[in-house]
C-alpha cells in the first residue's frame, strides 16, 4: 500500500518537485511505446545521482514498494510499463555525458542521455557510436543497455552489447557495483556486465555506462532497390552476403510500410512495388564505391525492377530517418499498432516472410512487415483496433502461430525489443525448462524480494 509517508520518504531523498503523485502527473507514466498496455504507477521519482538511486532503491525495498526503472519510455515490449502499486524510477534527468576519451576511444555517460546525443558527442571527435534503434533521437542510452537494443546497422556493427565496456549498477540491496573496465581485454572474474545488458531493469538499476566508440566511416552510399516480389528482395540479401559483402544496412519494407512512411516523410520511397530494400555501405571511399556498384548489380541480377542511388548525404540521411519512423507511420492505418520482433537465421528469411503473409491472409488481418533483412530481424506489425475483442483474439492467435513458427525455424521471439510483458508467454518454450530455471534462479539470488520490475520477462 502506497502511503503519503512513503512519498515523503522519497521526497527526503530526491527533493520536492522530483516526486510526482498527482493524477495529472502520473497518468502520462502509465505506458511506454508498446501498444495496448497500460497501468498507472503510485508515484514517479526522479533521482539525479547514483547516490539518489541507491537510497531510493534501499528505501523502496525496505517499504516493499516495487520499482520500475524508466528512461524515455520508448520501449516496445512493455518493459517500463508500471506494475500495480509500483514507483517509476525515471532516470531522464540523469542526462549528462561525463567524459569522452579519444585516446582510448571510450565515452562515459549517465543513463538518461539520448542515443543520438551520444553519437553526436562521438562525432565531434571523428568517432562513431553505431547502434541506432528507431527511436534514437529520444531513446535513452540506459534503456538501450537494459534492453540490449539493436537498430539498422546491426548486420555490420552489432548491437548495444558490443559497445558496453563497463557498467555502474545499483543492486537491489542498494549497494553500488561496478563491472567491466576501459580495457579492451579484461577477463577478471565473470563477465558480469553482460548479465545486466538486456536484463530489462529486473536485476539492478544502471547508473553509469562506459561505451566503446569506433572511427567514424569516411564515406557512405545509400541506395534503394525496388521489387515486384518479396522473395526477390530476400534472395538479393542472401546473394550480397554470399558475395562476402557486409553492408551496414539492409532494410526491408513491404508495400504497406513503404506507403505509410512515404505519406509521412515524403522522401521519394516508391509506393507501387511489393518490396523495397534500403541498402547502405560505409567505410573507406574506394571500398564504398566498389561495394555499392556490386550491390546494385546483385540486386538487378536478383530481379530488382530498379536501383536508385541516393544523390547526396542529405538524401541518404532522409531515407534512413524515414525508415526509423516505419513503426509509427504504420499507425496511420488503424487505431492500434502491434509491433513484433521475430528473428530467424538469415537463411530462413524468405520462408518466414511468406508464412507471415499467409497467416495474415488466413486470419483476415492487416499486417505491415518491415525489418532488418541483413540480420534476419523482422517486424511484422499488426494494424488493428484494441476495442474490437474479436479481432484482438484473432491477432493473438496469429501471433502465437508466428511465434511457434519462429522457434521451429531456429529463431528467437525477440531480436531487439526485449521480453518485457509482451513476449513472456513464449520465453520458456524458447529457452527450455532448465535454462529458464537457471535464469529465474539468478533473479531470485540478486533480487530475493522480487521488487525490481516484477512481472517482466517471467512471472
Amino acid at each position: 500500500m502506497f502511503t503519503r509517508a512513503i512519498a515523503d520518504g522519497f521526497t527526503s531523498i530526491v527533493g520536492a518537485g522530483s516526486v510526482l503523485t498527482k493524477l495529472e502527473d502520473i497518468i502520462p507514466y502509465s505506458f511506454d511505446g508498446t501498444a495496448a498496455l497500460r497501468q498507472m504507477p503510485s508515484a514517479v521519482v526522479f533521482p539525479h545521482t547514483t547516490e539518489d538511486v541507491s537510497r531510493c532503491v534501499t528505501f523502496a525495498v525496505a517499504q516493499g514498494v516495487p520499482i520500475v526503472t524508466r528512461g524515455s519510455g520508448t520501449g516496445l515490449s512493455g518493459g517500463s510499463v508500471p506494475t500495480d502499486g509500483s514507483v517509476v524510477l525515471c532516470l531522464a534527468q540523469m542526462n549528462r555525458i561525463l567524459d569522452i576519451d579519444p585516446r582510448n576511444l571510450v565515452l562515459r555517460t549517465q543513463p538518461g542521455v539520448t542515443t543520438l546525443a551520444i553519437d553526436e558527442a562521438a562525432s565531434r571527435h571523428g568517432l562513431f557510436y553505431p547502434p541506432d534503434p528507431g527511436s534514437m533521437r529520444i531513446s535513452s542510452i540506459g534503456g538501450n543497455v537494459a534492453e540490449n537494443s539493436g537498430g539498422l546497422r546491426g548486420l555490420k556493427y552489432g548491437v548495444t552489447r558490443d559497445y558496453v565496456m563497463a557498467l555502474e549498477v545499483v543492486m537491489p540491496d542498494g549497494r553500488v557495483a561496478r563491472f567491466g573496465s576501459a580495457c579492451v581485454k579484461d577477463v577478471a572474474g565473470y563477465s558480469m556486465k553482460d548479465l545486466f545488458i538486456g536484463s530489462e531493469g529486473s536485476l539492478g538499476v544502471i547508473t553509469e555506462i562506459l561505451l566503446k566508440l569506433v572511427p567514424r566511416p569516411l564515406a557512405r552510399q545509400t541506395m534503394l532497390a525496388l521489387y515486384e516480389r518479396i522473395e526477390d528482395a530476400a534472395s538479393t540479401v542472401s546473394a550480397i552476403i554470399e558475395a562476402r559483402i557486409i553492408p551496414c544496412t539492409l532494410e526491408f519494407l513491404d508495400q504497406m510500410t513503404a506507403t505509410c512512411v512515404e505519406e509521412f516523410a515524403h522522401v521519394g520511397l516508391p509506393t507501387d512495388c511489393a518490396a523495397v530494400l534500403l541498402m547502405e555501405t560505409d567505410g573507406h571511399p574506394a571500398a564504398v564505391a566498389d561495394e555499392a556498384a556490386q550491390m546494385a548489380s546483385i540486386a538487378r541480377a536478383n530481379g530488382a525492377r530498379d536501383v536508385r542511388m541516393a544523390k547526396n548525404e542529405a538524401e541518404a540521411l532522409a531515407l534512413a530517418a524515414a525508415r526509423r519512423n516505419a513503426f509509427s507511420a504504420l499507425a496511420r492505418r488503424r487505431p492500434t499498432t502491434i509491433l513484433e520482433d521475430f528473428t530467424v537465421p538469415r537463411s530462413e528469411l524468405a520462408r518466414m516472410v511468406t508464412f507471415i503473409a499467409d497467416t495474415a491472409r488466413a486470419a483476415n488481418l492487416q499486417i505491415g512487415t518491415f525489418g532488418h533483412m541483413g540480420d534476419g530481424n523482422l517486424h511484422p506489425t499488426f494494424l488493428t483496433d484494441e476495442r474490437d475483442g474479436h479481432e484482438m483474439a484473432r491477432v493473438h492467435r496469429a501471433l502465437d502461430s508466428i511465434a511457434r513458427k519462429t522457434l521451429e525455424l531456429g529463431g528467437t521471439i525477440t531480436g531487439e525489443h526485449g521480453v518485457g510483458l509482451a513476449k513472456k508467454e513464449w520465453l520458456r518454450q524458447q529457452m527450455g525448462d532448465s535454462s529458464f530455471e537457471v535464469m529465474k534462479q539468478i533473479k531470485r539470488t540478486l533480487d530475493p524480494a522480487g521488487l525490481l520490475n516484477p512481472g517482466k520477462i517471467f512471472d
Partner: protein, 436 residues
C-alpha cells in the same frame, strides 16, 4: 468541430497517438522539464483520460494545456499523423466551457479581447488608435517615469513594457480596396491584413500588396476585415471562431479568387482549417472546404506562380540574413522551403541557416502573458542562436515572432534588424527604380 468536447470527439483521433515518443525531442516544454505531462504524448494521455472519464477537466489539466505553446512541432514530428491541433483546441474549449481556469480578472480580459475587440474590427482599430496616441503623446513616458505604472496588477505590469508600438496609420490608409498590376492581371487574389499586422506592421501589408502587384496579381483588400478567429480557436473559443470564419467567407467568396493570401504565419495556419471548423454547418460547409483549398501564405503563393527575381538588392551593401521559422508557418502550414527560396532570389544577400530555426521563440500568441518564465527562456535561446549566426538581419513571417524577437535582440543590445521576407522583396523591387 465547433461544439465537440473531449468526451464526444471521434475517439480514433485520440487513439491515433500510439505513444511512441517521437514527439518528445521536438517539444520545447518537455525539453525544459523532462516530465511526461509536459510532452505532447503526455498531454494526449491526459486528454484521453478525460475522454475515458478517468480524469476531470481539473485546474491542473487547464494549467497543463496552458503550458503547451501550441507550437505544433509535435505535429510535424509525428509519424502516425496525430491531429494535435484538433485535440488541443478541443481541450482548451472544454476548459473554457467548464470554467476550469479561475479568476475574475482573467474572465474580464478574456471577455474584452476575444468576446469584444477581436470580434469588432472597427472597435479594435479604435482601441489601437487610443493606445497609439497614449504611446506617442508622452503620456506613456509620464506614466512609466512617475511610477503610476505600479498601480497596475502584477501580471499586466510585467507585460506593459512589451506593449507593441502601434502604427500611426493602419492598412486601410495604405492599401486601396482594389489595386491592379501594371499590364494584364494574371491572377486575382484577396489580401488578408490580419489584426496585429494591421495595427503594428501595416507596412508589411503594403509590402505584400506591392510584391503581389509586381507579380501580376490583382489585389482585393477590403478596408475593414474581421479577425480570422485564430486567437479564439487557439484559446478555446470555438464558437466565436466559427462566427468569424463565416464572416470571412462572406467577405471573400472563395470562388472569386485564385488565392486568398495571408502574410502572418499564425493566421494562415488557422485560415486553412475553416473546413473542419464549419463541417457541421450545411450552409457554409462546401464554401469552407473550397476556402481551405484557396488559402496560401504569401511566400508559398509567390513561389507557386514563379516569383520574378528582383534586379536590385534590398540592401545598400552585401548583407547576411538568417531566417526564423514561425511555428504556425512551418508546423501549422508546412511552409518552410518557400521563404528561403524567396530570400535566395535577392541579390546582395547571403542566407545563413539559423540553428534550431524551427524551435519556438516563445511568442506563441498570448503565451508571453500567460507563461512569462518559459517564454523568456525560449526567447533567450532564440536570441543566442540568432546572434551566433553573425547575421545582421533576421527574416521572419509572423507578427508575434517579429515582436518577440525584436524585443529579445533589443534586450541583448544586438544590432540585428527584424524583417518580413516579403518586405525585403518589396524593398528590392522599389530599389530597381531608384538604382536604374
Amino acid at each position: 468541430m465547433a461544439g465537440a468536447t473531449l468526451r464526444t470527439i471521434d475517439y480514433s483521433v485520440l487513439q491515433q497517438c500510439m505513444h511512441c515518443g517521437m514527439c518528445l525531442p521536438t517539444c520545447p516544454t518537455y525539453d525544459q522539464t523532462k516530465q511526461e505531462r509536459n510532452s505532447p504524448r503526455g498531454r494526449i494521455a491526459l486528454m484521453r483520460a478525460v475522454a475515458d472519464g478517468v480524469l476531470e477537466v481539473s485546474q491542473e489539466f487547464a494549467e497543463e494545456m496552458s503550458y503547451c505553446l501550441g507550437c505544433l512541432a509535435c505535429q510535424t514530428a509525428c509519424p502516425a499523423g496525430v491531429n494535435y491541433t484538433e485535440l488541443f483546441e478541443t481541450a482548451r474549449s472544454d476548459i473554457e466551457r467548464q470554467d476550469a481556469h479561475h479568476g475574475v480578472a482573467r474572465k474580464f480580459w478574456r471577455g474584452l479581447t476575444l468576446g469584444f475587440l477581436f470580434m469588432h474590427p472597427t472597435a479594435l482599430r479604435l482601441a489601437g488608435k487610443a493606445l497609439g496616441l497614449y504611446q506617442r503623446s508622452g503620456l506613456e513616458a509620464f506614466v512609466r517615469r512617475t511610477g503610476i505604472v505600479r498601480l497596475l496588477p502584477p501580471a499586466l505590469r510585467r507585460v506593459e513594457p512589451q506593449t507593441p508600438r502601434i502604427a500611426k496609420r493602419f492598412s486601410n490608409a495604405l492599401i486601396a480596396p482594389h489595386e491592379a498590376p501594371v499590364g494584364q492581371a494574371r491572377h486575382r487574389v484577396a489580401l488578408l491584413t490580419g489584426c496585429v499586422q494591421d495595427l503594428v506592421f501595416p507596412s508589411v501589408n503594403r509590402d505584400t500588396a506591392d510584391v503581389l502587384l509586381a507579380n501580376g496579381c490583382a489585389v482585393d483588400t477590403p478596408a475593414v476585415q474581421p479577425c480570422c478567429g485564430s486567437l479564439h480557436a487557439h484559446n478555446g473559443d470555438l464558437t466565436h471562431a466559427a462566427v468569424l470564419a463565416r464572416r470571412m467567407i462572406d467577405l471573400f467568396p472563395p470562388d472569386r479568387y485564385d488565392a486568398i493570401v495571408s502574410n502572418a504565419g499564425g493566421c494562415g495556419s488557422h485560415l486553412r482549417r475553416y473546413g473542419p471548423l464549419l463541417q457541421n454547418d450545411p450552409t457554409y460547409r462546401d464554401r469552407a472546404a473550397l476556402w481551405d483549398r484557396k488559402v496560401r501564405d504569401v511566400q508559398e503563393w509567390l513561389i507557386e506562380i514563379g516569383c520574378r527575381p528582383p534586379r536590385a538588392s534590398p540592401f545598400a551593401e552585401e548583407t547576411s540574413v538568417t531566417y526564423h521559422e514561425s511555428c504556425h508557418l512551418v508546423h501549422g502550414q508546412k511552409v518552410s522551403r518557400e521563404p528561403r527560396a524567396l530570400l535566395r532570389l535577392l541579390p546582395g544577400l547571403s542566407l545563413i541557416e539559423l540553428p534550431e530555426s524551427t524551435w519556438c521563440c516563445g511568442s506563441a500568441g498570448v503565451y508571453a502573458l500567460t507563461q512569462p518564465e518559459q517564454a523568456e527562456r525560449l526567447l533567450g535561446r532564440k536570441t543566442a542562436n540568432i546572434v551566433g549566426t553573425g547575421a545582421t538581419c533576421v527574416a521572419t513571417a509572423n507578427p508575434g515572432c517579429h515582436l518577440q524577437i525584436a524585443r529579445g535582440l533589443d534586450a541583448a543590445a544586438a544590432p540585428i534588424s527584424v524583417v518580413h521576407p516579403v518586405s525585403l522583396l518589396a524593398r528590392a523591387y522599389r530599389r530597381e527604380h531608384s538604382t536604374s
